[in-house]
Symmetry: C2
Subunit: 175 residues, 2 copies
């Protein structure tokens, strides 16, 4: 959900500028862990525990259309490692109702570890989630994961759809 359906890194930049008056360039986040994104120590932790943070994250460009398209061929589940931030639970549910009303509550999962999830594909921005997943993995590009090379990277939702289409295509046979 975060940094895949929701543009969480954009929200960090917007809130940092609002609260600290500093416009941090996106590229300066590349390769840093999220908690080290900004010079002000603890800024990220403060944000994710502030009511309203998760409720107001901008939607990732292309996400709504891409999920709708995937739903033609797949059972799509939204799986969010939300349990670490209990205040985010209801905000994330409301955010999904607002921006992805076509995803039923039956297909939403809030968890801690994603190792318990059984699915064919996982599109995620975090190695800690992808590394323990048994199905096929796509690493959704994010500033914090620049440098990761052991999962297939997709830069955006357009690339994610192409990658899945290729993985789903029947193997070509010689004539």
């Amino acid at each position: 959900m975060d940094s895949v359906l929701a543009d969480t890194e954009k929200q960090f930049l917007i809130w940092y500028e609002r609260d600290y008056g500093v416009n941090v360039p996106y590229e300066s986040l590349f390769g840093k862990n999220e908690e080290d994104f900004f010079p002000a120590k603890g800024a990220i932790r403060k944000m994710v525990f502030t009511p309203g943070f998760f409720r107001t994250i901008p939607v990732m460009p292309g996400a709504v259309e891409a999920v709708k398209q995937l739903m033609n061929d797949f059972d799509v589940y939204v799986v969010s490692a939300a349990m670490e931030f209990p205040n985010s639970l209801i905000e994330k549910k409301e955010w999904l109702e607002e921006h992805f009303p076509f995803i039923t509550w039956k297909n939403i999962v809030f968890c801690g570890s994603k190792s318990i999830i059984d699915a064919d594909y996982l599109i995620d921005d975090h190695c800690k989630n992808l590394d323990v997943f048994k199905g096929k993995t796509l690493l959704f590009h994010a500033a914090h994961n620049v440098g990761v090379t052991h999962h297939q990277r997709v830069k955006n939702w357009e690339e994610a759809l192409s990658a899945i289409a290729k993985l789903e295509a029947p193997p070509t046979t010689e004539v």
Copy 2:
């Protein structure tokens, strides 16, 4: 979680008596769907959408000790189909923190359908959850599931522990 770790049927009886002044005997619930437990129509639905309902459910007898014991041999996850009742999300999280503080947030899952859960065992009171599960199943006895015969029934946590011990025992070999 409901009717397995939390004694949800007991909570229904307590709240029904409190709100409608009628002491309904537990046995009268046997074999009924939860929504048909009580003569007052919509009573159950009203309860589960009332703030405080999930936060104050009594703990199922023996559940705390049983989970502690299972954690010696298993990774124990609490998986609750909580997504239908968004108001329950934070209450369920707080309830677990109070009564099962030894279960980390990493091992808590709030979902809609449990078909996406990958585990070895599922202990559940609902066929709709057990029927779609790929691992071994135990039906935790509840008034609403009296009459169900296609899953191994356990009457209480003591029986659940014995059942798992038997399922885990190496097959006896002839000498």
